[in-house]
Every structure is written in C-alpha cells, then in structure tokens.
C-alpha cells in the first residue's frame, strides 16, 4: 500500500472523513471580520505613505507625466548610472541619460547591478504592502530580490485599504508566483535588535503617482 493510501486511510479512520459536505460546510464558516475598507481614496493613499514612512522607505510623489524626471532625480541623488528593468516596463517612464537594462538571467550580473526599477500589481495601505506579480515580461522573482536597491512605482488606483481586499485582487492571478513586500527585509534574531536588510534589497524606495 502506498504512503498516500495509508495516510488517507488513517485520516478517514480518525475523522470518519466525508468529502461530500465540505463545500456546504466551507460556506458556513463565520466571517465577521472586516472585508472592505472604509477610507476614501485620499486617506487611503496617505495611510499607505505613512506605513512606508514607518518602514523607513522614502516616498516620492509626482504626477504620471513626471515619472521619468522623478526617476532621473532619484538616480542622480543616489549617484546611480542606471537600473535594471523588466521587459514590459513602459518606456516613457525611463529618463534619458541613464542606462536601463532588461534583466539578465545571470544571477551574478543581478548581484553586481546598481538596482532595479519596477511597477507593482497592487498595494495594501493598512499594512504598507506592495504586491509583485511575476508574470512573463513583468518583474521576475530574481530581479526583485538580488539587486540591493529597489525603486517601485505605485499608482493610486492600485492601492486597496485592507488585506482581504488585497487577497481578493491577488486571487485573480493566484497561480502566478507572487511576492508581497512590506518594508525592507529585517531580522530580530540578534538580541531582539531589529536589523534591516539581510538578504533582500536593503533599500526600497517608492514613487507614489498622484
């Protein structure tokens, strides 16, 4: 007998298992927690910006038409000559005078790069979370992870207030790889002192389009 059959049999013996009514029972689970936000869009955006500030992530605001110059200003301030970008990132966001390379499959090239510029799939205000969807042409997992610097563009229409709203949107691409980012990586493993930036990008900056 296979392990699978053994395990299934043991489960059935233990619970008197029945799969027939599972759907009905599932629907009867009490979900009295908040499933939707209450803030208006302006407050929602401010909440998101607040949370990012809590994480120590600088937030730059600009109009959609100003994205390229804003990127230019940030790169200049950071003394960077350019960034890696996902294949399908809109070209009009990329300013002249800097290098923007499409991501390379070579991890070491990613490791020695100056950083990455991406957009996102959605954002959750209450937790200051940015959600990346790793579809072909969009930012890959490696690209959003290995470089030490991540600049992310977020549009106000992408921001939801609550986690349930965020998950609901994520369900529509549930089988793509997904990464949620809530502040830079951190550990509290050394005497409970919170140290930022262990393996993921140590600097995360956000351009919040107004």
């Amino acid at each position: 007998m296979s392990a699978k059959q053994d395990i299934i049999d043991r489960i059935r013996n233990a619970t008197g298992g029945s799969s027939i009514t599972s759907e009905i029972e599932y629907e009867s689970i009490n979900r009295h927690y908040r499933q939707a936000g209450v803030l208006d869009p302006a407050d929602r955006i401010e909440l998101f910006a607040d949370r990012l500030a809590d994480y120590g992530s600088p937030v730059y605001r600009c109009a959609e038409s100003e994205i390229a110059p804003t990127v230019a200003g940030i790169l200049t301030e950071r003394a960077k000559t350019g960034l890696l970008v996902p294949r399908d990132l809109p070209r009009i966001w990329l300013p002249e005078g800097f290098y923007f390379f499409r991501e390379s499959p070579d991890y070491r090239e990613l490791d020695s790069s100056e950083g990455v510029l991406t957009d996102c799939a959605l954002a959750i205000a209450s937790t200051g979370t940015i959600v990346l969807r790793h579809a072909p042409g969009e930012v890959s997992r490696a690209l959003s992870l290995i470089p030490d610097y991540h600049l992310c563009i977020v549009f106000p229409t992408q921001i939801v207030e609550t986690v349930p709203e965020g998950i609901r949107q994520m369900s529509s691409f549930a089988t793509l790889p997904i990464t949620t980012i809530s502040g830079p990586s951190a550990t509290s493993d050394i005497e409970m002192t919170r140290i930022k930036g262990v393996h993921g990008p140590r600097t995360l900056e956000v351009i919040l389009v107004t």
């Binding site: 296979s2 392990a3 699978k4 053994d6 395990i7 299934i8 043991r10 489960i11 233990a14 619970t15 298992g17 029945s18 799969s19 599972s22 029972e25 599932y26 689970i29 009490n30 979900r31 009295h32 927690y33 908040r34 499933q35 991890y107 070491r108 490791d111 937790t127 790793h134 072909p136 890959s140 997992r141 490696a142 992870l145 290995i146 986690v163 349930p164 998950i167 609901r168 994520m170 369900s171 549930a174 089988t175 790889p177 997904i178 990464t179 980012i181 809530s182 990586s185 951190a186 550990t187 509290s188 493993d189 050394i190 005497e191 409970m192 002192t193 140290i195 262990v198 393996h199 993921g200």
Partner: protein, 476 residues
C-alpha cells in the same frame, strides 16, 4: 512506522531539564528579554485591529473545517499542484520523508542544499539524514544559521537563537566563517551572514523549504518570512523541495486574508512581515524548473484521532503562546526536549508520538490560560493539557506513588466523615514538623513544597467544626 519528533523520545523529563535551565541566569535573562519584546509588540499591533476576535474565530473555524475534511483537501491540493507541474510525495513517517528527500537531492547529483527555516525538518531530523548521505545542508535563516554553526538546538519557534547573546554569536561567526576581525555590532553580524549566504544562494542548485500554508484550491504554497532568505531559496535554485505537515492545508486562496493577518501580528508583532512568497507548481521561464512537495504525516493522524485534542493541529506556528507562557519564560525552549516548545509543544509533542513518550510535558504548565488568550486560532491549550494528563494517567504512565496518593485523597474527599477524620489525622501528623508555628520541612512527596516555601500548619479547628460548634450555641 518510525515517528520522530526531534529527540523528544529520549529527552529528559521536563522537571529535570527545567531544573538545569532555571539555574542558568543568562538563558533566563535572554528568554525574558526576548519574550518581553515580542509580547509588547504583539499587544500593540493586536490592539489596533478592531476585528481581531472575529479574525481569530474565522481562523479557528477554517482550520477545524479543514481537519474534518483533510482527506478531501489533501487530494485536492495534490491534483492542483500536479496540474501546475509540481510533483507531490506522501510520507507516513520521518524515515520515509528523509528517504524521499535524500533521493530527490541525489537525483540532481547535488552534494549541497540550501534550506529555509522549517521546524518540520528538525522534527524529522532531516539534516543528519542528508549528512549521512554525503549531502551538506546550509541553513539560511539567520537564527538557524547561528544554531547550526553553534552546533546547538533551537529554543523558540520564531526566534530560535534567542538563547544566544551577541557576544556568543560573534564568536560563532568569527570561528566558523573565518572572520577574525569581525565586529561586535548586530549590523556587523548580519553583514557577515549576508555575505556568507549570498555566495550560496547564487550557486547551490537545490533548496529545501517548509511551507506556512498549502492552498488546496490552487495547489499553491505560501511562505512567510522576514529576512529574504526564503525568497532566495524558493526562486533561484533549479530544484525546490518543500516539506509540509498535512495540517498546513487551507481550503482556498481567499483564506490567506485571515491567516496573513493573524500570523504576522501574533508571531513578530508586525502589521505584515517583510516578505510573503506564494507560488504554484513550476513557472516556465522563471524560478525552479522542478518543484516537489512532501506531505508529511509523522503522527499527525494520531493527533487527528483524538477529537478532544484534535484542535492542536490548528496551530499556525506563530509562537505567541511561548511568549505569553510564564513557565516558558523561566526555562526557554530546551526544557521541553522537543523542537516544539512552550504550550503548543507541551500538547503537540506527546500526541505526535501517540502518547508513548514525553509524558511530563502535559504537566509542564500551571494552567494559567495566558496561551489560550493569545492563540490566534483559539486553541484551548489548557483544556487539552488537562485532557492529555488524563490520557497519561489512563494509559498507565503516571508515577505509582502519585496514583496511590490520588486514590487515597479521592477516597477521603468522598464523604464528610472521612474528610473530618483526615483533617484530625493531619493535625496530629504535622506536630513533629511544626516549629514556632510554621512548617519548614516536610517529607516524601511534599518535600518539594517546603524546599522553597514555608507552610502554615493546619489550624486546630476546621471550618466545619467551627460551624458545628456555633450552631449549638445560642445566638442573639
């Protein structure tokens, strides 16, 4: 079957292990500081959540529902994961899981693997099995790295190295990473870990992870982390092997909306932990080319079989109960002799082993209830502790002297006449032990009391005697 829960089957009894740890001032300081910090952080972020109780209730109900239909959901997960290009393996016990994983690594002709924190792998003792097969596992969570390089055991679910202070960590890193000039600040230590591990992340072709949640509906797995090492292990290597206990299943993707609120706030006192990774099977063109899931029983069906304590399997491994527990606070995790420590460890460890071992663990509690208050999925741990104590007694693992004493006490307490007689007898028996109105030393089973506390002698007149006398006297 060889069910294994780390080294729990041969660990010393809790009171014995606790005695040593209680005398260790540094461990007590470290544990106290760590638990205080997380307790306070947790309290702050839970207080701001208006619907916290509703979330707890939903989390509880979802988990209870899954357990009732676990056969269905496991098979649904297998089908969905397989459709997405994953390979699902089933392991009845620790040995089988180790065999499957070793074979998968060998099939890659790999001699190294990078690992993401998973207590489940400590439970089955995967690392020794890999090493015996000539495969070197590298732990990549900072705390597990500290524990591994320090050749030690984890002492907390979420902060496994909390028993180590920074001086000890510096010494371990300096020696094992060959960094004689290593600085002393926490930043220096994490920088050293970053460099040491990055080299491995970019090179090692096989990774082994656990999973916080396995979603039946989509066949997806979700890993919750803070450092970024899981993201590295889950997306860079060629082959990914994910080991999950069968109780990690949740029904549908939407159920993450409950657990991704409960877990970070309970575990690390954050609104959301830095990184969550969710993936399904394999994705062409990115990430691992091969993905294997090992579904592990290893005694979980034993826990399932007792419907009075089945809810032990609701646990989402947040560690909040450890931080709240006044007993854990005095001893740290090593006293429990198991990878699962604290209140959850006290109920899970013996049950996984079908109550064959770890009989002292259900008694490692004063039943204060602090754990139940903080459990995000409302596991009634105190009630389960009492139930398991009943099983220890019923299944004949209670000390003989204790059984006799309890039987005698039960006999005495059944009737008022016997109770009165016993009260009179105690008043006589205590005379040789009473000096200047206080008892400072008692024999036998009661010596434990007087070794650290005084005892006031039994008064000359019991309440019932006073009442009887009063009834006879005429009153105004």
């Amino acid at each position: 079957m060889s069910i294994r829960v780390g080294e729990a089957a041969t660990a010393p009894d809790f009171p014995v292990a606790a005695k040593k740890l209680v005398s260790n001032a540094q461990i007590r300081q470290n544990v106290r500081r760590a638990t205080d910090v997380i307790r306070n952080k947790r309290a702050r972020v839970v207080e701001e959540v208006e619907d916290w109780e509703q979330l707890r209730q939903a989390g509880h109900e979802i988990k209870e529902h899954v357990l009732r239909h676990l056969d269905f959901y496991l098979q649904q997960f297998e089908a969905a994961c397989t459709r997405a290009g994953g390979v699902v393996h089933w392991a009845s016990d620790a040995d089988e899981a180790n065999r499957i994983i070793v074979d998968l690594v060998r099939a890659q002709e790999a001699t190294e693997v990078i690992k993401v924190k998973t207590m489940t792998s400590d439970e089955i003792r995967l690392n020794p099995a890999l090493q015996a097969a000539g495969i070197t596992p590298y732990e990549t969570d900072l705390a597990d790295l500290i524990v591994q390089l320090g050749e030690d055991q984890p002492s907390h679910i979420v902060v496994p190295a909390l028993h180590r202070n920074r001086m000890e960590i510096r010494r371990i890193f300096s020696e094992k990473m060959n960094l004689p000039e290593l600085g002393y600040r926490p930043e220096d230590l994490t920088d050293a870990a970053r460099a040491y591990l990055r080299e491995k992340f970019l090179r090692v072709p096989v990774a082994i992870s656990g999973g916080n949640f396995a979603i039946a509906e989509t066949g997806s797995v979700c890993v919750v982390e803070s450092e970024g090492n899981a993201r590295m292990c889950l997306s860079l290597p060629r082959v990914l092997i994910t080991l999950v206990g069968i109780e990690k299943i949740i029904p549908r993707f939407r159920d993450l909306e409950v657990f991704l609120q409960l877990l970070p706030r309970s575990a690390t006192g954050e609104r959301m932990n830095p990184y969550n990774s969710i993936w399904t099977g394999v994705s062409p063109g990115s990430g691992p080319r091969e993905f294997h899931v090992v579904l592990l029983d290893n005694g979980r069906t034993n826990v399932l079989a007792d419907d009075l304590s089945r809810e032990t399997l609701d646990c989402i491994r947040c560690g909040a109960c450890l931080n709240a527990c006044p007993v854990y606070r005095q001893t740290g995790g090593h006293a429990y002799g198991s990878v699962y420590a604290g209140p959850i460890g006290a109920i899970l460890t013996p049950q996984l082993q079908a109550m064959q071992h770890s009989h002292s663990l259900p008694y490692a509690s004063s039943l204060c209830g602090a754990c139940y208050e903080v459990c995000p999925v409302k596991i009634n741990i105190p009630e389960i502790l009492v139930h398991l104590r009943g099983r220890v007694v019923e299944e004949n693992h209670a000390p003989l002297l204790e059984k006799l004493a309890m039987k005698a006490a039960g006999y005495v307490l059944e009737t008022p006449e016997r109770l009165s007689l016993a009260q009179k007898a105690i008043r006589i028996a205590q005379v040789p032990f009473t000096h200047d109105g206080v008892i400072r030393r008692l024999p036998g089973m009661l010596a434990g009391w007087t070794s650290v506390r005084d005892l006031a002698p039994v008064p000359k007149q019991s309440f019932r005697e006073w009442w009887a006398k009063r009834q006879k006297e005429p009153r105004l």
